[in-house]
């Protein structure tokens, strides 16, 4: 018992993929995506996608790192075991700056990678697309647009005709 998951259509080159994406966007589809083995310059705008949310995760990571850096030095060299070094104050925000700086970067980087995974809903080791031979050719030079069945505008007949009308070839149904 298989159910349609998406309809995919191939495009011959990068400009035609780009312009087709603009048309899918303008037709009002929401649950769809382009597939290419390289990032296409300006594609997010052509697909009507907003700015990526990854920097939010970076910021949270960085803030955590900075706070940890500041507080461990305060706790360790001032509060828990005051350390006398050259008669200097036990704590100042200046001398541990390299610690805060490095931990800010460290946790920002973790936040960024984690944010990339979260915003992309990865890891997701299985997906119905992987069953399609056409889809696997994206790794080489195939360029695809896929409109998913969960889109409210999706209609097996109309969507197929629409993809043909914007220049799509090798139209194929992906089942799940």
């Amino acid at each position: 018992m298989s159910k349609t998951h998406a309809i995919i259509a191939s495009f011959p080159d990068t400009p035609s993929l780009y312009h087709a994406a603009e048309k899918v966007r303008d037709a009002g589809y929401k649950k769809w995506d382009t597939y290419s083995s390289f990032p296409v310059h300006g594609m997010p705008a052509a697909q009507g996608q907003p700015r990526s949310k990854v920097p939010i995760f970076t910021f949270c990571g960085g803030l955590t790192g900075f706070s940890i850096g500041l507080s461990i030095v305060w706790f360790m060299n001032f509060f828990d075991y005051p350390l006398i070094v050259g008669g200097k104050p036990f704590f100042s925000p200046v001398f541990p700056f390299p610690i805060m700086y490095e931990l800010t970067i460290l946790l920002s980087a973790f936040g960024t990678l984690g944010g990339m995974f979260i915003t992309n809903l990865l890891p997701q080791h299985y997906n119905p697309f992987f069953e399609s031979d056409t889809f696997l050719e994206v790794a080489g030079d195939r360029l695809l647009i896929a409109i998913e069945a969960r889109d409210s505008k999706f209609d097996a007949q109309n969507t197929r005709q629409f993809l043909e009308s914007i220049g799509g070839t090798d139209i194929e149904e992906i089942t799940a």
Binding site: A21, S37, F38, P39, L106, T112, N120, D141
Partner: protein, 499 residues
């Protein structure tokens, strides 16, 4: 989208001048030569890991493992006996260990410069060399880490460097640049791995999909079990690490943002790492170390040595795998020019140190520098000066840059010179300090020599594993800079129009 320069309105004077001068059209050299298509790029890069292991790889691996075993033996002897097996003796208690540490960590800096700084500067030529350079960074940091880790002598206490509770209830001392170094280097290593891994996810996906394609197509019928078994292994090995990457536009959107952010984070990181390494010296009040020029001078030296190492590694790989269309003459030219630029900064720093030593009128400081040039270690100083200041100046000539064999030899000179720079800085200042009665002369022992030369083996083993099992170049990024990857058609690119 900016219009190309030819369309911008010109004033009559400008037009008159231009028609008189008739400037030559600035032709941008393509980054992928010979009009290659997407499939060619994918195949070229993927075939390196998909075909049978070449014989030269086994030979190199055997030599590398043998060399690496020297580090193993040196360290085993050190741990079982004590740090006395090294050539350290009063007053020189910082010998080859710190020299080797700074040398290796400096090498790493070019990888981050290529992947991060050149990404922010939108240098398209970085794409084909950045993956290997990042791998070089990580492996160089591993080699660097060996030395501070083992120079503590009782390696089982090395975890005291980290702010973890221990039985003595004593915490690290955060005013020490050495403690800053622990944080800087461990952050640098970790962030480099994250950046490297994230950049590799799409390519791991490509390798996974190709393995699945081959398994589905049944081309394994009749072929040996090993051929099929390897593809099953690839399907799962690359599949697990690709995390289900699907090449979707949405994936790329978030990936590109994350990549840009990581580049933005790595740029201040790479500058801070060698700055903090230089603080290990500059914060001490020793003549020859206590100078404010150290941070920028160390960073420039690190990038210089790192690009030297990138050339040392990439030129043979380019020849062996026939990557001339991906690593073009333009790439080599650019790398040579960066060596020239940073090498000149390093040369300027050498001369400026002498000037300040004289101008500062501090007798100890003046002595330290006169002693470098004319004292017992002057041979090392001239080695350093010759390799680092004169060698890169030859890169002014395009005939030199076009001679791959010569460039390779010069890159070795740069590596040697930069090792001697660290030797000169560390040892000359310590050997002849304030009291002539306590002066000494440092000589390495055989254990020092074994341990250091072995790290080249450790590095080579790791690099050979990388070349064999992981994608050597970021396939997606190379396609991005090709004319076919431009959504506005190839013609736009040929003109050099940028948007």
């Amino acid at each position: 989208m900016a219009s190309s320069p030819n369309d911008s309105p010109m004033s009559p004077t400008q037009a008159a001048i231009l028609s008189k001068v008739q400037p030559a059209e600035l032709v941008e050299q393509p980054l992928v030569t010979n009009d290659r298509d997407f499939n060619w790029v994918t195949n070229k890069i993927c075939r390196i890991v998909e075909t049978k292991t070449p014989t030269w790889w086994w030979v190199c691996m055997a030599v590398a493992l043998l060399t690496a075993s020297f580090t193993g033996m040196g360290l085993a002897y050190l741990v079982s006996t004590g740090v006395g097996v090294w050539g350290l003796a009063n007053p020189i208690n910082w010998g080859w260990a710190i020299v080797n540490f700074v040398f290796w960590i400096g090498i790493g800096h070019a990888g981050t410069l290529i992947s991060a700084v050149l990404c922010l500067l939108k240098q398209g030529w970085r794409t084909s060399i950045n993956r290997a350079a990042e791998a070089m960074t990580i492996f160089a940091v591993i080699c660097a880490g060996i030395f501070p880790l083992f120079h503590v002598g009782r390696i089982w206490f090395a975890w005291w460097l980290f702010p973890l509770p221990n039985a003595n209830a004593i915490w690290p001392q955060f005013r020490s640049p050495l403690e800053w170094d622990v944080f800087a280097v461990s952050t640098y290593g970790t962030v480099s791995v994250l950046f490297w891994y994230m950049g590799m996810i799409p390519d791991l996906g490509v390798l996974r999909d190709r393995a699945v394609q081959r398994l589905k197509s049944g081309i394994h019928e009749g072929a040996g079990w090993l051929t099929k078994g390897m593809d099953v292994f690839r399907k799962y090995f690359y599949g697990i690490f690709a995390m289900g990457w699907r090449n979707a536009g949405n994936h790329w959107r978030n990936y590109e943002m994350a990549y840009l952010v990581l580049a933005g984070l790595s740029t201040p990181l790479v500058l801070s790492v060698h700055t903090i390494v230089s603080f290990d010296f500059a914060v001490a009040q020793l003549p020859g170390w206590h100078t404010t020029i150290f941070p920028p001078y160390f960073v420039a030296g690190a990038i210089f040595s790192g690009f030297g190492m990138v050339l040392t590694l990439m030129l043979p790989l380019r020849a062996v795998y026939g990557l001339h269309d991906l690593i073009t003459q333009r790439h080599i030219d650019n790398m040579c020019k960066i060596c020239l630029g940073t090498g000149s900064i390093v040369g300027y720093a050498y001369i400026m140190e002498f000037f300040i030593a004289w101008y500062g009128a501090n007798p100890y400081e003046s002595f330290a520098f006169i002693n470098r040039g004319f004292g017992q270690y002057s041979w090392a100083y001239y080695m350093m000066f010759g390799c680092n200041v004169f060698t890169p100046q030859l890169f002014w000539f395009s005939a030199v840059r076009r001679n791959a064999a010569l460039v390779w030899v010069m890159s070795i000179f740069i590596n040697v010179g930069m090792w001697f720079e660290r030797f000169v800085i560390t040892v000359t200042s310590l050997a002849n300090d304030f009291l002539p009665s306590s002066w000494g002369y440092y000589s390495p022992t055989i254990v020092d020599i074994f341990t250091f030369f072995g790290t080249f083996g450790v590095f080579s083993v790791l690099f050979l594993m990388f070349v064999r099992f992981l994608p050597l170049m970021p396939i997606g990024e190379v396609k991005y800079v090709m004319p076919q990857g431009d959504p506005h058609g190839p013609s736009d690119h040929v003109k050099g129009g940028h948007h």
